[in-house]
Symmetry: C2
Subunit: 447 residues, 2 copies
């Protein structure tokens, strides 16, 4: 029905959409779904489809594309078309795209844009990654205390096309300093003559330009905010961070925590789309480091070679004992990493938690010793059962204490507690476990 | 300055607040911060402070208390005071508290409430945990198509005190079926006579009463919604889920994923406040199961006892080799658990990812073999170096494939992919690693 669709073979259709209703999908689907489909198409086909959209929808759909796709398409779109799209994008999305473009494309884009947008991009692109400045937007509505509720609503109507956040407005003094915020429905429900000063919250939560994005997300969640204002050193409003953007930042941080727990160096790409090279590079560092860590366990074993030759059945229990310490330690470490990330636990709680952990770990170790002792009795007699049972309790307690304390220690050293990954804890527990096991064995079994 | 404060000794003061400005803190702090402080006080002091607050603030502060604290205080508050607070709480928070109360307290509360609130609590308390029905609220504003924009704003003004979500209203037909949604600022910006039907989005995203809360959170994030409507089988609007509540649910699910990755059975309590008994119970099951898993590794070792006695230096490399397979497998598993949870990867992507994983794992294994082979040469000569190098490549590939595939397999079996925890993958890799290691050793080293 549309000649533009002839290039699309069936394989490239969105899930559940046939050639017959593709046109309807493109016209009516949510821009998020449309963008998800376009992101999977070859660039030339995606551009063809984007250009077939009417303008407000074109910019919205483009904004929902992954940043890598936006960057690729931006360099292939006719410059005039790109300028139109970029002009209609949200200020922060615009700045994010701009930062990804190569310098010639940046210069071209700045030259094509109107002065207001040009200045806005320049300003928003200057802040350090992962700070409030880098994720804020300039799409806020500003009011003054002298306005009445009716004046304010009039101002909001005029500002509406360029504001991302209309539900809360920011009240500034004559020097541009933030002195309060007011909610749209309070303006609406108040009498027309009520001064904005009477309706505003005079002590809004705000952050500095260099506040970490994790802190931003934490504040937005804690205080149930829809947007958080960012002020410069003089208290002037520099921008706002919408909840959407803060959440996207928080999602990225949580994914990073998962990666670190898995001893993978953080990477921002989708796991599905990341290249073999990226995944290799991000995974090898810790794996290689842990090889060296494990050589300590080996050295421990070498030291006790005589005991092993005399009682080879001890080797039977080796993987079990060292793994059990590692497993209990991984539990403790991962619980603490998460608790520190959500704010459930703070640095000063370590003292209160460590004693409790000793009790829990002793109970866990004793239970596991009860399970494994009969096997020890069966395979090596009473002495072996005693050695294995005692070692089990000790390695579980040591593993748990290492696992619990490591995230606190890293946090204290201003490192990310999530670096206390399960494999790291396992490797440390292994080396200690080998020493404990063969020391106990040597002293119990030696005549 | 306030006689009520005399019971509070300095230890119980909020951080950064002195006795002199405690009164100011209680009057002016954000209700979230006030609640965080009250939650740490003994129950009788907390009740004293809550009752000293004016009513709207009293209910808001109470809502921000942890549910366990709410439940405890609810049973100690004078019934009349409790009824007042509960009446002013949001519908969903109210239902959550109600569900926690013991039956006599539930009956008392229902008897004290006005009929509207009573029915509302009854209705919201009937849905299964972790479904849309269980986390929805009835605090929405409903409009009809025949209204003009001015009528609609008038209706919203009247409804404002009991609506949790004023920024989006829900348009219903005469049978109560959801036929569209309209945003407050569109009503405001439109001409007074514009019919609501012209302003509404006629195909809003909605979910069923039994939709899983994780799916709810996924939709709210995907479509950047501030609230998601819930409809019954007949398409009638049953309630809405605010973004706040969906996010709280998502936070809980993410914490559960962390717990599962650590082989801890999910628990809802704060790690800081959980009892020793709860933590022991939640941790012991998997630790005990893994003990049995590790006995397979032991059995493998027992089978190769002769090889070990002949070449005891093989034991030196045992922890290293089996851990390396487990570490690579933990990486792959954790990356996939997170990717499946965020929707980055879907069930059908397994085929495309498995081949890439073989390539990556081979490269990882080869690198690690290069690191460890010289140590093999040093400790046992050329043959041992060959055995150790070959084993390293194989265990890393096998561990990675197990780690990558297990989350998909669990997902396919409709189990939670997060059950593919690092310790589980490690235990499986260990058993396979022992067999691979000593099989290669036996065939290379036997004359």
């Amino acid at each position: 029905m549309n000649p533009k669709e002839t290039n699309l073979d069936d394989a490239a259709l969105p899930a559940g959409v046939s050639t017959a209703n593709l046109h309807e999908f493109i016209e009516n689907a949510h821009a998020v779904d449309l963008a998800a489909w376009l992101a999977e198409l070859p660039a030339d086909l995606a551009i063809e489809q984007i250009l077939s959209l009417a303008l407000p929808r074109r910019a919205t759909t483009f904004s929902y594309l992954p940043l890598t796709t936006q960057t690729e398409l931006a360099q292939r779109l006719p410059p005039g078309e790109l300028t139109q799209i970029v002009t209609q994008m949200n200020a922060d999305d615009r700045a994010d795209l701009f930062k990804q473009l190569p310098p010639p494309a940046q210069r071209q884009l700045l030259a094509d844009l109107a002065p207001t947008e040009r200045e806005d991009i320049r300003r928003l692109s200057t802040y350090a990654e992962e700070t409030a400045g880098a994720i804020m937007t300039s799409g806020y509505a500003a009011l003054t205390t002298s306005m009445s509720a009716a004046d304010a609503i009039g101002a909001l109507r005029r500002e509406a096309p360029r504001t991302e956040m209309i539900y809360r407005s920011y009240v500034l003094d004559t020097k541009g300093r933030l002195i309060g915020t007011v909610r749209l429905h309070e303006l609406m429900l108040a009498g027309a003559d009520t001064p904005v000063a009477d309706l505003m919250d005079p002590s809004p939560v705000a952050v500095a330009l260099d506040t970490d994005q994790e802190e931003v997300a934490r504040l937005i969640t804690r205080y149930h905010l829809t947007a958080l204002p960012v002020v410069d050193d003089a208290g002037r409003l520099a921008g706002i961070i919408t909840r959407d953007d803060a959440e996207a930042a928080l999602q990225r941080e949580t994914t990073e925590d998962f990666q670190k727990i898995a001893t993978v160096q953080p990477f921002a790409e989708s796991v599905r789309q990341a290249s073999i090279h990226v995944l290799y590079t991000k995974r090898i560092l810790w794996l290689a480091l842990l090889v060296f860590g494990n050589l300590f366990s080996g050295a421990g074993i070498a030291f006790f070679e005589d005991t092993i030759l005399a009682y080879v059945s001890l080797v039977f229990f080796l993987p079990l004992l060292i793994d059990s310490g590692g497993n209990a330690g991984s539990q403790a470490a991962t619980l603490m990493v998460r608790a520190l990330a959500t704010g459930d636990v703070a640095l000063q709680d370590w003292h209160n938690l460590i004693l409790r952990e000793v009790v829990i770990a002793t109970a866990l170790g004793a239970t596991m010793a009860l399970i494994v002792s009969p096997v020890g009795l069966l395979r090596g007699g009473y002495d072996i059962a005693l050695v294995v049972g005692m070692t089990m309790v000790l390695v579980v307690v040591i593993g748990s204490l290492v696992g619990m304390s490591l995230p606190f220690l890293l946090s204290r050293l201003r490192l990310d507690p999530a670096t206390a990954s399960a494999p790291l804890v396992t490797t440390i527990s292994d080396a200690v476990g080998v020493l404990v096991y063969f020391s106990i064995a040597t002293s119990v079994l030696s005549p």
